[in-house]
Protein backbone atom coordinates (compact mmCIF):
# COMPACT_ATOMS: atom_id res chain seq x y z
CA UNK A 1 0.00 0.00 0.00
CA UNK A 2 1.55 3.26 -0.98
CA UNK A 3 0.77 6.88 -1.33
CA UNK A 4 1.27 9.46 -4.01
CA UNK A 5 2.31 12.73 -2.45
CA UNK A 6 0.88 15.90 -3.87
CA UNK A 7 3.03 19.00 -3.86
CA UNK A 8 1.75 22.33 -2.72
CA UNK A 9 2.33 23.60 -6.26
CA UNK A 10 0.23 21.36 -8.46
CA UNK A 11 2.16 22.29 -11.60
CA UNK A 12 5.31 20.86 -10.04
CA UNK A 13 7.48 18.77 -12.35
CA UNK A 14 8.46 16.57 -9.38
CA UNK A 15 6.54 13.50 -8.29
CA UNK A 16 7.13 11.48 -5.14
CA UNK A 17 5.56 8.16 -4.23
CA UNK A 18 5.83 6.47 -0.86
CA UNK A 19 5.68 2.70 -0.49
CA UNK A 20 3.54 2.98 2.61
CA UNK A 21 1.14 5.35 4.33
CA UNK A 22 1.84 3.77 7.71
CA UNK A 23 4.48 6.14 9.02
CA UNK A 24 5.47 6.57 12.64
CA UNK A 25 8.65 7.35 14.59
CA UNK A 26 11.05 4.48 13.92
CA UNK A 27 9.36 3.39 10.66
CA UNK A 28 11.19 2.97 7.35
CA UNK A 29 9.87 3.33 3.83
CA UNK A 30 11.00 3.51 0.23
CA UNK A 31 10.28 6.61 -1.75
CA UNK A 32 10.32 6.88 -5.53
CA UNK A 33 10.92 10.21 -7.22
CA UNK A 34 10.68 11.30 -10.81
CA UNK A 35 10.70 14.47 -12.84
CA UNK A 36 8.47 15.12 -15.80
CA UNK A 37 9.67 17.30 -18.65
CA UNK A 38 13.25 18.43 -19.06
CA UNK A 39 14.98 17.04 -16.04
CA UNK A 40 18.28 17.24 -17.92
CA UNK A 41 18.53 20.98 -17.22
CA UNK A 42 18.62 20.35 -13.45
CA UNK A 43 22.24 20.52 -12.37
CA UNK A 44 21.79 19.73 -8.68
CA UNK A 45 19.04 17.86 -6.89
CA UNK A 46 18.53 17.74 -3.15
CA UNK A 47 15.78 15.85 -1.34
CA UNK A 48 15.38 16.18 2.41
CA UNK A 49 13.03 15.19 5.21
CA UNK A 50 12.05 18.16 7.37
CA UNK A 51 9.93 18.87 10.43
CA UNK A 52 8.71 22.30 11.43
CA UNK A 53 6.65 23.98 14.09
CA UNK A 54 3.93 26.44 13.14
CA UNK A 55 2.49 28.77 15.76
CA UNK A 56 -0.37 31.11 14.89
CA UNK A 57 -1.18 34.12 17.05
CA UNK A 58 -3.10 37.37 16.85
CA UNK A 59 -1.75 40.79 17.80
CA UNK A 60 -4.33 43.49 17.41
CA UNK A 61 -6.03 42.88 14.08
CA UNK A 62 -3.14 40.93 12.59
CA UNK A 63 -2.91 37.16 12.61
CA UNK A 64 0.60 35.82 12.11
CA UNK A 65 2.05 32.34 11.76
CA UNK A 66 5.66 31.81 12.82
CA UNK A 67 7.49 28.79 11.43
CA UNK A 68 10.59 27.02 12.69
CA UNK A 69 12.25 24.11 10.92
CA UNK A 70 13.85 22.09 13.69
CA UNK A 71 14.79 18.90 11.92
CA UNK A 72 16.35 18.38 8.52
CA UNK A 73 17.65 15.06 7.26
CA UNK A 74 19.30 15.12 3.82
CA UNK A 75 18.18 12.09 1.79
CA UNK A 76 19.77 12.82 -1.56
CA UNK A 77 22.28 15.24 -3.05
CA UNK A 78 23.20 14.54 -6.65
CA UNK A 79 24.62 16.27 -9.72
CA UNK A 80 24.31 13.20 -11.97
CA UNK A 81 21.62 13.39 -14.63
CA UNK A 82 20.78 9.72 -14.35
CA UNK A 83 20.12 10.08 -10.61
CA UNK A 84 18.23 13.34 -11.04
CA UNK A 85 15.65 12.13 -13.54
CA UNK A 86 14.27 9.38 -11.37
CA UNK A 87 15.30 7.15 -8.52
CA UNK A 88 14.41 5.36 -5.35
CA UNK A 89 15.45 6.15 -1.79
CA UNK A 90 15.00 4.50 1.54
CA UNK A 91 14.55 6.61 4.63
CA UNK A 92 13.75 6.05 8.27
CA UNK A 93 11.89 8.27 10.65
CA UNK A 94 14.08 8.46 13.73
CA UNK A 95 12.68 6.84 16.88
CA UNK A 96 11.64 8.98 19.81
CA UNK A 97 10.94 12.05 17.71
CA UNK A 98 7.82 14.18 17.71
CA UNK A 99 4.92 12.92 15.63
CA UNK A 100 2.66 15.10 13.50
CA UNK A 101 0.48 17.41 15.55
CA UNK A 102 -2.41 19.50 14.31
CA UNK A 103 -4.39 21.82 16.54
CA UNK A 104 -6.18 25.03 15.71
CA UNK A 105 -3.23 27.35 16.36
CA UNK A 106 -0.24 25.07 16.77
CA UNK A 107 1.10 22.47 14.37
CA UNK A 108 4.04 20.15 13.84
CA UNK A 109 4.37 19.27 10.18
CA UNK A 110 6.54 16.67 8.44
CA UNK A 111 7.52 17.33 4.83
CA UNK A 112 9.67 15.99 2.03
CA UNK A 113 11.39 18.88 0.28
CA UNK A 114 12.74 18.81 -3.26
CA UNK A 115 15.25 21.44 -4.33
CA UNK A 116 16.47 21.49 -7.90
CA UNK A 117 19.05 23.94 -9.25
CA UNK A 118 18.79 25.07 -12.89
CA UNK A 119 21.48 27.28 -14.36
CA UNK A 120 20.29 30.82 -15.08
CA UNK A 121 16.75 30.03 -13.94
CA UNK A 122 14.99 30.14 -10.59
CA UNK A 123 15.45 27.00 -8.50
CA UNK A 124 12.74 24.38 -8.25
CA UNK A 125 11.51 24.21 -4.65
CA UNK A 126 8.66 21.86 -3.94
CA UNK A 127 7.27 20.77 -0.59
CA UNK A 128 5.38 17.50 -0.20
CA UNK A 129 3.49 17.34 3.08
CA UNK A 130 3.45 13.94 4.79
CA UNK A 131 -0.14 13.66 5.88
CA UNK A 132 0.51 12.19 9.29
CA UNK A 133 3.38 10.70 11.25
CA UNK A 134 1.45 8.87 13.96
CA UNK A 135 2.58 8.18 17.50
CA UNK A 136 3.87 4.66 17.89
CA UNK A 137 1.15 2.17 18.70
CA UNK A 138 1.28 0.61 22.14
CA UNK A 139 -0.33 -2.60 23.30
CA UNK A 140 -2.74 -1.02 25.73
CA UNK A 141 -6.08 0.43 24.72
CA UNK A 142 -6.25 4.06 23.79
CA UNK A 143 -9.77 4.34 25.19
CA UNK A 144 -9.87 6.32 28.40
CA UNK A 145 -11.37 4.57 31.40
CA UNK A 146 -11.84 5.73 34.93
CA UNK A 147 -12.45 4.25 38.31
CA UNK A 148 -13.70 5.99 41.37
CA UNK A 149 -14.52 4.92 44.87
Amino acid sequence: MGGLLFPRRLQSPAQLTLDTDDLYPGASTDISYAFTGRSDIITLLEISLQVREEATYTRGSNTTTDKNVFYKLPLLTSTHAVDIRRGKLKFSIPPNVMHSFTARNNKIIWTLNVHGVIAHWPDIKVEFRLQSIQPRSHEQSANPTRRQQ
Binding site: D66, Y71, V97, N105, H138, T145, R146, Q148, Q149
Partner: protein, 128 residues
Protein backbone atom coordinates in the same frame (compact mmCIF):
# COMPACT_ATOMS: atom_id res chain seq x y z
CA UNK B 1 -9.19 27.20 54.43
CA UNK B 2 -9.95 25.25 51.28
CA UNK B 3 -7.53 22.47 50.40
CA UNK B 4 -7.43 20.57 47.08
CA UNK B 5 -4.85 17.92 46.24
CA UNK B 6 -4.07 15.54 43.38
CA UNK B 7 -1.73 12.70 44.25
CA UNK B 8 -0.29 10.50 41.49
CA UNK B 9 0.26 6.84 42.37
CA UNK B 10 3.81 6.19 43.58
CA UNK B 11 4.52 9.88 42.98
CA UNK B 12 5.14 8.89 39.37
CA UNK B 13 4.83 11.77 36.91
CA UNK B 14 6.38 10.12 33.81
CA UNK B 15 4.21 7.82 31.67
CA UNK B 16 4.29 6.01 28.36
CA UNK B 17 1.47 6.45 25.84
CA UNK B 18 -1.33 4.01 26.56
CA UNK B 19 -0.25 3.57 30.17
CA UNK B 20 -2.57 3.64 33.17
CA UNK B 21 -2.52 6.89 35.09
CA UNK B 22 -3.82 6.35 38.62
CA UNK B 23 -3.89 8.29 41.84
CA UNK B 24 -6.14 9.95 44.34
CA UNK B 25 -7.77 13.31 44.88
CA UNK B 26 -8.55 14.93 48.18
CA UNK B 27 -10.40 18.08 49.13
CA UNK B 28 -11.41 19.80 52.31
CA UNK B 29 -13.67 22.80 51.86
CA UNK B 30 -15.14 25.57 53.96
CA UNK B 31 -18.46 25.17 52.15
CA UNK B 32 -20.57 22.37 50.70
CA UNK B 33 -19.56 21.42 47.19
CA UNK B 34 -22.05 20.86 44.38
CA UNK B 35 -19.75 19.03 42.03
CA UNK B 36 -16.17 17.90 41.67
CA UNK B 37 -14.51 16.65 38.53
CA UNK B 38 -11.03 15.63 37.47
CA UNK B 39 -10.05 16.49 33.92
CA UNK B 40 -7.35 14.78 31.90
CA UNK B 41 -6.16 17.24 29.30
CA UNK B 42 -3.30 18.55 27.21
CA UNK B 43 -2.61 22.16 26.38
CA UNK B 44 -0.05 24.15 24.44
CA UNK B 45 2.27 26.89 25.60
CA UNK B 46 4.46 29.13 23.51
CA UNK B 47 4.17 31.78 20.87
CA UNK B 48 0.92 30.57 19.35
CA UNK B 49 -2.54 31.08 20.77
CA UNK B 50 -3.18 28.31 23.27
CA UNK B 51 -4.84 25.09 22.18
CA UNK B 52 -6.36 22.73 24.72
CA UNK B 53 -8.22 19.45 24.58
CA UNK B 54 -9.96 17.64 27.43
CA UNK B 55 -9.45 13.91 26.86
CA UNK B 56 -11.52 12.49 29.72
CA UNK B 57 -13.38 13.55 32.86
CA UNK B 58 -13.95 11.66 36.11
CA UNK B 59 -16.91 12.99 38.10
CA UNK B 60 -17.05 12.66 41.88
CA UNK B 61 -20.68 13.00 42.80
CA UNK B 62 -20.78 12.62 46.56
CA UNK B 63 -21.61 16.10 47.86
CA UNK B 64 -19.39 16.45 50.86
CA UNK B 65 -17.10 19.16 52.15
CA UNK B 66 -14.39 16.57 52.52
CA UNK B 67 -13.62 14.07 49.78
CA UNK B 68 -11.13 11.29 49.12
CA UNK B 69 -11.40 9.47 45.82
CA UNK B 70 -9.20 7.26 43.72
CA UNK B 71 -9.08 7.64 39.95
CA UNK B 72 -7.69 5.80 36.99
CA UNK B 73 -7.33 6.85 33.36
CA UNK B 74 -5.85 5.06 30.39
CA UNK B 75 -3.71 7.53 28.50
CA UNK B 76 -4.13 7.92 24.73
CA UNK B 77 -1.30 7.38 22.26
CA UNK B 78 -0.68 11.08 21.82
CA UNK B 79 0.17 13.82 21.63
CA UNK B 80 3.53 13.34 23.30
CA UNK B 81 4.74 15.88 25.80
CA UNK B 82 6.89 18.18 23.71
CA UNK B 83 9.23 21.11 24.19
CA UNK B 84 10.22 23.14 21.15
CA UNK B 85 11.21 26.63 20.17
CA UNK B 86 7.71 27.89 19.33
CA UNK B 87 5.48 25.24 20.88
CA UNK B 88 5.34 23.17 24.03
CA UNK B 89 2.70 20.50 24.65
CA UNK B 90 1.93 19.69 28.27
CA UNK B 91 -0.28 17.12 29.96
CA UNK B 92 -2.07 17.82 33.19
CA UNK B 93 -4.75 16.67 35.59
CA UNK B 94 -7.08 19.44 36.77
CA UNK B 95 -9.40 19.07 39.75
CA UNK B 96 -12.30 21.55 39.65
CA UNK B 97 -14.75 22.09 42.51
CA UNK B 98 -18.03 23.97 42.18
CA UNK B 99 -19.28 26.41 43.29
CA UNK B 100 -16.46 28.85 43.14
CA UNK B 101 -14.45 27.16 40.40
CA UNK B 102 -11.75 26.15 42.85
CA UNK B 103 -9.07 24.22 41.05
CA UNK B 104 -5.65 22.67 41.28
CA UNK B 105 -3.44 21.07 38.66
CA UNK B 106 -0.75 18.43 38.52
CA UNK B 107 1.38 18.24 35.40
CA UNK B 108 2.87 15.00 34.18
CA UNK B 109 4.94 13.85 31.21
CA UNK B 110 3.79 11.40 28.55
CA UNK B 111 6.03 10.26 25.73
CA UNK B 112 8.29 7.57 24.34
CA UNK B 113 10.41 6.09 27.13
CA UNK B 114 8.22 8.13 29.50
CA UNK B 115 10.00 11.34 28.54
CA UNK B 116 8.99 14.45 26.70
CA UNK B 117 10.34 15.00 23.21
CA UNK B 118 12.77 17.91 23.21
CA UNK B 119 13.58 19.75 20.03
CA UNK B 120 17.31 19.99 20.77
CA UNK B 121 17.59 16.22 21.11
CA UNK B 122 16.11 15.83 17.64
CA UNK B 123 18.64 18.23 16.13
CA UNK B 124 21.46 16.18 17.65
CA UNK B 125 19.99 13.01 16.17
CA UNK B 126 19.78 14.62 12.75
CA UNK B 127 23.41 15.66 12.92
CA UNK B 128 24.73 12.18 13.68
Amino acid sequence: MNNLQIQLADNNDHYAPGATLAGAVHWQLDFPQKSAELRLLWYTQGKGTQDLQVIDIANFDAPAQTGDFEFEFTLPQGPYSYSGKLISILWTLELIIQPGSLSTRTDFTMGPDRNEVVMNAMVEQAAT
